[in-house]
Amino acid sequence: EAGVVQSPRYKIIEKKQPVAFWCNPISGHNTLYWYLQNLGQGPELLIRYENEEAVDDSQLPKDRFSAERLKGVDSTLKIQPAELGDSAVYLCASSTGQGTANEQFFGPGTRLTVL
């Protein structure tokens, strides 16, 4: 069974440019998460989806970040415009939902470098 797929794996852009990350969760997983992982830190939740609905986006900087999960399957996270401080790894995870008891399966992440 395929795991969580993310693309691209690496992205280098100049500041003020837009960037988008894509995530395809494990088949059948209704819950999808986007995390931000800064260097030397643990992941921090940006947004959580239950099917198509964003049920927790309180940590998403909405002035420049946006996300969507059309049709409740794959998801896109966008930054526009990117800033130097956005350089980090963006992780996507999925689970079958139903609360914290379910394991979150993580993708390999997208490493973003903003110059």
Binding site: G40, Q41, G42, P43, S95, G99
Partner: protein
């Protein structure tokens, strides 16, 4: 508010030696506790989790962790470390019903032959 502290940023051990990685949490009720491992360029993989019951939890790859409520700790242990265990280890706490995990800052494990 929930929080997780991993006091050791970097630990170095010799292959075959025992290992203990520390994790302390702050949470008002009984927490859900997790240990994840992250190899370079890889996503996080769940090693083990504690929800209730037996306070000594067995996980994959020969790891175990013990929940100690009196010390607010959930330390990860392995009796004999292999070179392939070199990675970053994250402790996380979850709140019942929220589906949200709070991660610690991680401990980087280096294994010498």
């Amino acid at each position: 508010a929930q929080s997780v502290t991993q006091p050791d940023i970097h630990i170095t051990v010799s292959e075959g030696a025992s290992l203990e990685l520390r994790c302390n949490y702050s949470y008002g009720a009984t927490p859900y506790l997790f240990w994840y491992v992250q190899s370079p360029g890889q996503g996080l993989q769940l090693l083990l989790k504690y929800f209730s019951g037996d306070t000594l939890v067995q996980g994959i790859k020969g790891f175990e962790a013990e929940f100690k409520r009196s010390q607010s700790s959930f330390n990860l242990r392995k009796p004999s470390v292999h070179w392939s265990d070199a990675a970053e280890y994250f402790c996380a706490v979850g709140a019942w019903g929220t589906d949200k995990l709070i991660f610690g800052t991680g401990t980087r494990l280096q294994v010498f032959p």
